[in-house]
């Protein structure tokens, strides 16, 4: 039984529906595979090579073969070229166009590897394998009640042990401590009784404290002979519980009566405790590397990511200030395919090329301003230079997302239909000492 009319305004505005409090969702799923510039130059096809300190991310099995201590650090800079949206009827309409705020993110990485003795090796990696940002104009974007900003950050601390079982066969085993925080922002709508149309009444920002979760990883590298090696790598799921606060800030409707009424109905300008949880997916890679000639090496990798962990995210207002909200994602497990070519020009110089086809885990209904994901092709070129003391690796990647059109909506959810077009450059630099 509905509480019909008991409080005409109380009920209507109380339920004012934090309809879709956002969930973190980012590009490429929201994984970032570019965690070392050498591997990035070969589009991440590195599982069967794993011969620089970024092996800690790509295949811990490579740690077994480390013979001297080595440090590498750098970053990947992601720069959006285009993140455009064109609407479709019935909402927000075929006459509607919008652009995301230009993405510009630095994603750092640092690795240290060292032999303990001939058999046992140690490594410590720090990197950020998940994260990214979407941001839309909070005042004008037609999807502002769905999301205006979503930002997820993670940092993995990844101590690893390597065991050289035989001269050609190595195993690595690591522990993962992942620290992460999330920020989600959007506008809150209500029907203005005077116009009978929707108007912004508030902005809501959900901001978590850093949460921590734990996992593990394992890798195998088998250098069968001079012309063939294979590798297998697995990183486990990591579940993180987040706590934080939501905050509602009033946005004037232009009507003083309505604004005053809303001030009595909504908990503006207070910290509203929230909890949520994200289960980051596990991922596995199989790589095969072939020496075509003494100076030319080809690697092909297949990666699997268990994105079905990302099915729905519930944001709970533990103080009961606002209704809980659940975002449905229903992602699926996906594969991506990588190929890299390494051309050793001299003992100190390498050129690298790569191609990746990355399959989106996101089904059509879940495509939203929060995360408009798509299948994408990535094209890379890389250069490595080894000096007496310093190693430098550079990589450039052009990421071309397929146009992603959403024409369907989950039962009972808000239509926000249209086509997203996204392109980005990634630039990586890693220095080794």
């Amino acid at each position: 039984m509905r509480r019909r009319g008991i409080s005409l305004y109380g009920v209507a505005f109380g339920a004012l529906a934090l309809v879709a409090v956002a969930v973190p969702s980012y590009a490429a799923g929201f994984g970032v595979f570019e965690q070392g510039s050498k591997a990035m130059g070969m589009a991440g096809a590195f599982t069967a090579q794993a011969d620089d300190p970024s092996l800690l991310f790509h295949n811990a099995g490579g740690l077994a073969f480390v013979t001297e201590s080595d440090f590498a650090g750098g970053f990947t800079y992601i720069r959006g070229i285009k993140a455009d949206f064109e609407g479709a009827n019935p909402f927000p309409g075929s006459d509607y166009k919008a652009k995301q705020e230009t993405l510009a993110e630095f994603i750092p990485h640092a690795y240290y590897v060292a032999p303990i003795n001939q058999t046992w090796k140690f490594g410590l990696g720090v990197n950020a394998p998940f994260g990214l940002t979407t941001e839309w104009d909070a005042n004008n974007f037609a999807g502002r009640y769905l999301s205006t900003k979503a930002a997820l950050r993670t940092v993995d601390i990844n101590p690893t042990i390597g065991w050289q079982v035989t001269p050609t066969f190595g195993i690595g085993l690591g522990a993962i401590a992942r620290v992460s925080d999330v920020v989600l922002e959007r506008r809150v709508p209500a029907v203005n009784p005077f116009t009978q149309t929707v108007v912004d009444v508030a902005g809501i920002k959900l901001e978590s404290d850093p949460g921590t979760g734990f996992g593990w990883n394992v890798g195998i590298l088998n250098k069968v002979n001079n012309s063939f090696s294979w590798g297998l790598s697995y990183r486990s799921k990591v579940k993180i519980d987040y706590e934080g606060d939501g905050r509602l800030t009033q946005v004037s409707t232009g009507n003083a009566q309505l604004d005053a009424l809303l001030r009595t109905r909504l908990p503006f300008d207070r910290n509203l405790p929230i909890k949520t949880q994200i289960e980051f997916p596990d991922m596995a890679s199989l790589g095969l590397a072939f020496a075509l000639t003494p100076s030319l090496l080809l690697e092909t990798d297949v990666n699997w990511t268990g994105w079905s962990t990302f099915d729905q995210t519930t944001i709970r207002f533990t103080g009961g200030d606002l209704p809980n909200s659940t975002i449905r994602s229903d992602w699926k497990d996906v594969m991506n395919y990588r190929a890299g070519l390494r051309w050793t020009r001299s003992a100190s110089s390498e050129l690298r090329f790569g191609f990746v086809f990355d399959e989106t885990p996101q089904q059509e209904e879940a495509v939203s301003p929060l995360l408009p994901d798509a299948d994408r092709n990535g094209y890379t070129i890389g250069y490595g230079w080894k000096g007496a003391k310093l190693k430098t690796d550079l990589a450039l990647m052009y990421l071309d997302f397929k146009e992603r059109t959403r024409a369907k909506t989950f039962e009972g959810e808000s239509p926000f239909l249209g086509t997203y077009k996204t392109q980005a450059w990634l630039f990586g630099i890693t220095l080794g000492f």
Binding site: L8, V19, F91, V191, P193, Q196, V199, L258
Partner: protein
């Protein structure tokens, strides 16, 4: 020259939208106030230019003419407005509009007549807003019913949403009299079949919509049937239990509904026990729709909807299940772009200030339900209406009224008597009916001789 015309022809063919088996070249809509684009108790061209038939036409044949009667602001009758959120007060605007686009030489495409029921469509030629929509001032059209004016246009496609007034009059007047405020099922079927048969004879394709349940409209669902503390807007509890209002036959039962029009009586203390500060006098019969009346109306609406579905099926017509759409909206709202529209009065965005007719958003949403049903039935690919202009308005048009929030907390709704008179007059809903004595059955003769002046006071909705 010849080559040019062929080229032009093929260009023209390319420009035609892919419309499957439905042809909207001569589209005519039959119906009542909902088809006319009536909103907030009046028919005003500034609103009705976006009636659902006009929207369907615009989507099916962009740029093509679709004639409908356009009445200058503030409409006929003048549309209701919300004056204030302090004791929310709803009143008609001042003045009266007039028809701005009489054609005279041919009928309108939109033949939705506010107040019309099924019988009116086949039998009534003047009276009430028939005098506007059917253009009886024109010698060429005088004496022709809505159905005749539809047939006369040799239509290629006809939408028919009629029958709301065959039941809603009973709901809005609070008085259920079979044959007076509620059309007997047999008569409904006869008249609907007459409509379908006449349209089918023209060769036009058809789409029908069914009738919503009265318990889904805010006119019936807004006012609680218990005593409410005006200071808190919460029910007054005695021994932990809410106290039901006093109706014409004693204390109301759980399933009894208090109509929007009861707000003036409630403000005078009627329906509220003296111990709780009321007058102790009962609410009048017309302010209450009791559970029995609701059951009677709902059963009859179900009967009408069966007839509509049967006739639509027999004629190979599309069927639009508005009844289901509104029931779903009552349960989970209509989500659009992160906002949720609901049937809640004033704050829901689907229903206008009269508690019966949709807002512009509501009509646009309904147009899309029609388009979906037509596409599904006829294999057409008519694009849905863009809802954004209807869902997102600009800033409030109401100037700041300097209210203080304390007063708002104690707000209570007042659907004024003026608003009620205006609404009922516009829709020819009888205001002074008495319930028939048990077993009396109500004389059905009030619209019996309805030709020519079918709006003699017996019309519903």
């Amino acid at each position: 020259m010849r080559r040019t015309s062929i080229a032009l022809l093929s260009l023209f063919a390319l420009a035609l939208p892919a419309l499957g088996q439905a042809d909207f070249t001569r589209y005519v809509s039959l119906g009542d106030s909902l088809t006319a684009g009536y909103q907030s108790g009046g028919l005003a061209g500034s609103i009705s230019r976006n009636s659902y038939p006009a929207l369907i036409s615009r989507q099916a044949r962009p740029g093509a003419a679709f004639d409908q009667p356009l009445i200058s602001d503030p409409g006929i009758p003048a549309v209701l407005e919300l004056r204030s959120l302090v004791g929310p007060t709803i009143l008609p605007k001042a003045g009266m509009g007039n028809l701005t686009n009489p054609i005279g030489t041919r009928p309108y495409n939109n033949l939705g007549v506010p107040g019309a029921n099924v019988r009116d469509t086949v039998a009534t030629v003047s009276g009430g807003l028939h005098d506007v929509v059917l253009q009886p001032f024109s010698p060429l059209l005088r004496g022709r019913t809505a159905l005749q004016q539809a047939v006369q246009q040799n239509p290629t496609f006809v939408t028919i949403w009629i029958g709301n007034n065959d039941a809603l009059g009973a709901a809005t007047s609070g008085i259920v009299i079979d044959g007076v405020t509620l059309t007997p099922l047999a008569r409904f079927e006869t008249d609907l079949r007459a409509i379908a048969s006449a349209i089918a004879a023209t060769g036009a394709k058809m789409a029908f919509a069914n009738i919503p349940d009265v318990t889904t409209i805010p006119f019936v669902t807004t006012v609680p049937n218990v005593v409410v503390n005006p200071a808190t807007n919460l029910p007054v509890l005695i021994n932990g239990q809410p106290v039901r209002l006093i109706g014409p036959r004693g204390q109301l039962a759980a399933g009894d509904r208090v109509l929007l029009t009861a707000t003036t009586e409630l403000r005078m203390g009627k329906g509220i026990p003296t111990a709780l500060g009321g007058s102790g006098l009962p609410l009048s019969d017309s302010s209450v729709l009791d559970a029995g009346e609701i059951a009677t109306i709902s059963a009859r609406v179900a009967g009408y909807n069966n007839v509509i579905a049967t006739v639509a099926n027999e004629r190979g017509a599309a069927l639009v299940d508005v009844n289901k759409v509104l029931r779903n909206a009552a349960v989970s709202g209509i989500p659009v772009g992160g906002a949720t529209f609901t049937p809640a009065f004033l704050t829901g965005g689907i229903f206008s200030y009269d508690g019966v007719h949709p807002t512009s958003f509501g009509y646009a949403y309904i147009a899309n339900v029609w388009i979906d049903a037509i596409n599904a039935k006829f294999g057409t690919s008519i694009q849905p209406v863009n809802l954004r202009p209807f869902a997102f308005g600009g800033a409030s048009t109401q100037a700041a009224l300097g209210a203080n929030s304390e007063a708002l907390l104690g707000s209570s709704l007042l659907f004024t008597d003026e608003a009620k008179h205006s609404l009922f007059k516009g829709l020819n809903i009888p205001e002074n009916l008495q319930s028939a004595p048990p077993g009396g059955g109500g004389g059905g003769g009030r619209r019996g001789g309805g030709h020519g002046h079918g709006h003699g006071g017996g019309q519903e909705q």
